[in-house]
């Protein structure tokens, strides 16, 4: 399963109310089994909830109960005599996985759905769950699929000697709230272009480290430019200061950091950023001058072959 698919599955959270059948056909205690048989035949259903005069759920009767009565020649019996009063129900607000577990544990084929006031609001079968999930997966996937389809053909459809996409982002200094947005967008774009998830992940991590460096260290923030063509992504991250005083140590020495203590509390500044960027990238170039700024350029090949 690719990371892209996982993201979709992760979002699929369902309540029983979203997938249940809402138009519930009920039968009353005094109806006969012959009448029940007609309801089941006409509506093509195999189980019917039983309600009393006040409309409150009191039992459930299924095609199995009907068959048993038929074998015994008791089709004139009332629903009240033949129904099952052991009620296994779910709430409309229950998660679908809870309902699925209940189906498995109890072996029942259908469950009446009750709302918070114990009113009968629907019926749920395993089929409802499957249909609901499929419909939702389709709806969820469709927009992203269209975006992906459009994007992934761009390098084939656009004719030039060398086609590339340039994405530019301005990163404000000290903006911890939005830090990571540019990396997130670059990650999503690479996925839409159909890039291997492992490569997307490396590019995302490197970009995010660089983005956080701009936010933590750069006096005025900086710019991230991602240039993507059919074979590679090149990221250029630059700022106008303060510059890295000891580039060699920042690149080589584990734990070397100039991150202020208040930012360390946020979870950054282990002296690992540049080293991690180098680990993720296929190529990396960095130039820095104190008082002038830093320019980092990394590239990753988009195909493993």
């Amino acid at each position: 399963m690719s990371s892209h698919e996982i993201t979709h599955v992760q979002k699929l959270v369902f309540r029983v109310g979203q997938v249940m059948t809402r138009r519930v056909i009920t039968i009353t205690l005094t109806n006969t089994l012959l009448e029940l048989k007609e309801v089941m035949r006409q509506r093509r259903i195999s189980g019917v909830p039983v309600v009393n005069d006040a409309g409150v759920l009191v039992g459930i009767i299924s095609i199995e109960d009907l068959l048993r009565a038929f074998e015994q020649g008791a089709l004139n019996a009332t629903v009240a005599e033949r129904m099952s009063t052991t009620l296994i129900t779910v709430r409309d607000t229950d998660l679908v996985d809870v309902a699925a577990q209940k189906f498995q544990q109890t072996g029942v084929g259908r469950m009446p759905v009750l709302d918070a006031q114990d009113r009968l609001v629907g019926m749920l079968t395993k089929g409802d769950i499957t249909r609901g999930l499929l419909a939702e997966v389709q709806a969820e996937t469709q927009d992203e699929e269209i975006a992906r389809f459009r994007a992934s053909h761009i390098f084939r459809d656009v004719e030039s000697d060398h086609t590339s996409l340039t994405l530019r982002y301005t990163i404000p200094a000290r903006d911890f709230t939005h830090g990571g947005e540019a990396s997130s967008k670059i990650k999503r774009t690479l996925m839409r272009l159909g890039t291997d998830p492992q490569i997307v992940r490396r590019a995302a991590i490197a970009t995010y480290e660089a983005e956080m460096n701009l936010i933590i260290h750069a006096d005025h923030g900086g710019q991230i430019t991602a240039e993507i063509d059919a074979s590679q992504v090149t990221l250029i991250v630059q700022d106008d200061g303060p510059g890295i005083r000891d580039l060699k140590r920042a690149l080589e020495e584990i734990g070397y950091t100039t991150t202020p203590p208040e930012i360390k509390q946020l979870g950054f500044g282990g002296g690992m950023g540049l080293k991690n960027i180098r680990k993720c990238a296929d190529q990396m170039k960095i130039e820095s001058q104190v008082g002038r700024g830093t320019r980092l350029e990394i590239s990753l090949r988009l195909h493993t072959d």
Partner: protein, 117 residues
């Protein structure tokens, strides 16, 4: 184990809606996000931390983590929750401390996530 079982084992609760059946193979306990970015394994890693800022969510997003577990009842603010929902990161909170949390998860079969270099 599953995210739902993590919640049970730690007597915790979910902070947002997610698929409780998602598989957790690795746990990564940390106070340093760069450490996660450098060493986490993708997809089935649960990040366990006291850090509750938006960067935890971003970090989880970048490394394709299965979710974030907050210890000591640390709960992120509304903006951070919103971000988690936007990018689809499951969030769980437990009142247990880091030591007990990791002990219980390890005993339940969750493996250390630091990939060997």
């Amino acid at each position: 184990m599953r995210l739902g079982q993590v919640i049970q084992v730690l007597s915790g609760h979910a902070l947002n809606e997610f698929n409780h059946a998602r598989e957790v193979e690795y746990g990564f306990e940390t106070a340093l996000l760069s450490d996660v970015l450098a060493h986490a394994k993708p997809h089935t890693t649960l990040i366990i931390t006291e850090i509750v800022n938006p960067q935890v969510i971003r970090t989880a997003e970048m490394v394709d983590a299965v979710g974030v577990l907050f210890v000591k009842n640390k709960t992120p603010d509304a903006g951070t929750l919103r971000l988690a929902n936007e990018v689809g990161i499951p969030l769980i909170v437990t009142r247990l401390g880091m030591f007990e949390t990791c002990g219980k998860l390890y005993a339940a079969g969750v493996q250390p996530a630091r990939s060997s270099e």
